[in-house]
Symmetry: C2
Subunit: 237 residues, 2 copies
């Protein structure tokens, strides 16, 4: 069980919902955020139903609340941005006044497909990456991390599946990384990897387009990445 | 044993030498290319010595010749470019007249470090990637593939080590990919993965900077990548 209060901004979408589901099953206190409070509340109910259907004995105890995005952000110690890239900047502006010493975790991937292009191509982001754009749009002092780009939302939503994927975490705040590492480890099958400073996020984000390309070639739905050659301590997660 | 004749342009360098070593031990006919024929011949001898030191019983039968780059390219059905990025364009221009129906395999990574910058940063290449620059500089009709960026030269050179790494292959020529896949499979521990068209090389190239970042964080020397979630046929290599 984690003591962190986690807001998932865009928690009604595929990746956001999947992370909220997995973390709530691990005992986390989750605030599902949406621009529309009613949709957030519906997603919270849908999450409880999914947990029940997945056979979780503790589904009735889940600490999940649906809120408007800025209300979700205001209550959290960790705020996960899981919105489509075209919505990222506007939503960040709408919640940044509500961030209270929270860690911001950006999961956004600037896929060309989010603006009508190919899913195997990226958009150029002036700051270098969606994560660095997020940092520019958050208050000074807010630790900004980048993670979860390469996790399959489909695999995370399917409770009969154990994901097989490393989570590459980028950021410049070591304490915040440590907190996020503990949250990643709450989800079976995921292993956090320290990929370096936030500027490396441009590489990690683009690996999503690579995995989409691999998915197409091999007719699979959730290829992932594992880093090899690491010492045993990292191997054990 | 492969029937391909493989030229390794820049075969005196770390990655080129390592590939030449592994392929020659697998029975391939190798032409080590260098701008300096004498250096190429020295590398061929060094390769035989390394094979002997590694305990290969067939080291005296190795088919390895050192040649000036264009002479190496002229004799090969597969030409592997393993030169530092700043030398790539000039060397391609010097060998392109010698390519005879050969497949060109570019391994170049435009790391900022190749021009005095940080090893965890990339240079921008106008064409999108070093591989696409290579395509622009080769004769029309030459199949250009991109591969081996993320393989550790150190692990490949150490014959006591079995590398643990997928080789992400990008390119637009399916027959050429099939040929290269068979060459990748000659090296124990490597698995070829079809990563899609050549334009995806810009992502795969940048993953080298990511792995360098991971190496630094975890104080290791040869982290690698494995793709998960693929069907069994790919799993078996």
């Amino acid at each position: 069980m984690s003591e962190e209060k986690i807001a998932v901004i865009g928690g009604t979408g595929d990746l956001g919902f999947a992370l909220a589901l997995r973390w709530s099953l691990a005992g986390g206190q989750i605030f599902i955020g949406s621009r529309d409070e009613k949709k957030a509340q519906d997603a919270a109910q849908r999450l409880k139903d999914a947990a029940n259907a997945g056979g979780s004995s503790s589904a009735h105890d889940l600490l999940v609340t649906g809120c408007e995005n800025s209300h979700a952000a205001a209550q959290a110690s960790v705020v996960v941005m899981a919105v489509p890239f075209p919505a990222q900047a506007a939503i960040l502006k709408s919640i940044r006044g509500s961030l209270k010493d929270a860690i911001l975790v950006d999961t956004t991937v600037p896929l060309a497909a989010t603006m009508g292009g190919k899913p195997t191509r990226m958009l150029g982001v002036w700051q270098g990456s969606a994560a660095e754009q997020a940092r520019e749009l958050t208050p000074p002092g807010t630790p900004v991390l980048s993670a979860f780009h390469n996790a399959s939302a489909e695999a995370l939503q399917d409770l009969s599946v154990t994901p097989d994927c490393d989570i590459l975490v980028c950021g410049d705040d070591e304490a915040a990384k440590k907190t996020l590492f503990s949250l990643v480890k709450l989800i079976p099958g995921l292993r956090p990897i320290d990929a370096g400073p936030l500027e490396v996020a441009r590489i990690v984000e683009s690996m999503t387009a690579l995995l989409i390309s691999v998915n197409r070639r091999y007719k699979v739905h959730h290829s992932g990445i594992r880093i090899t050659g690491l010492p045993a301590e990292a191997k054990s997660g």
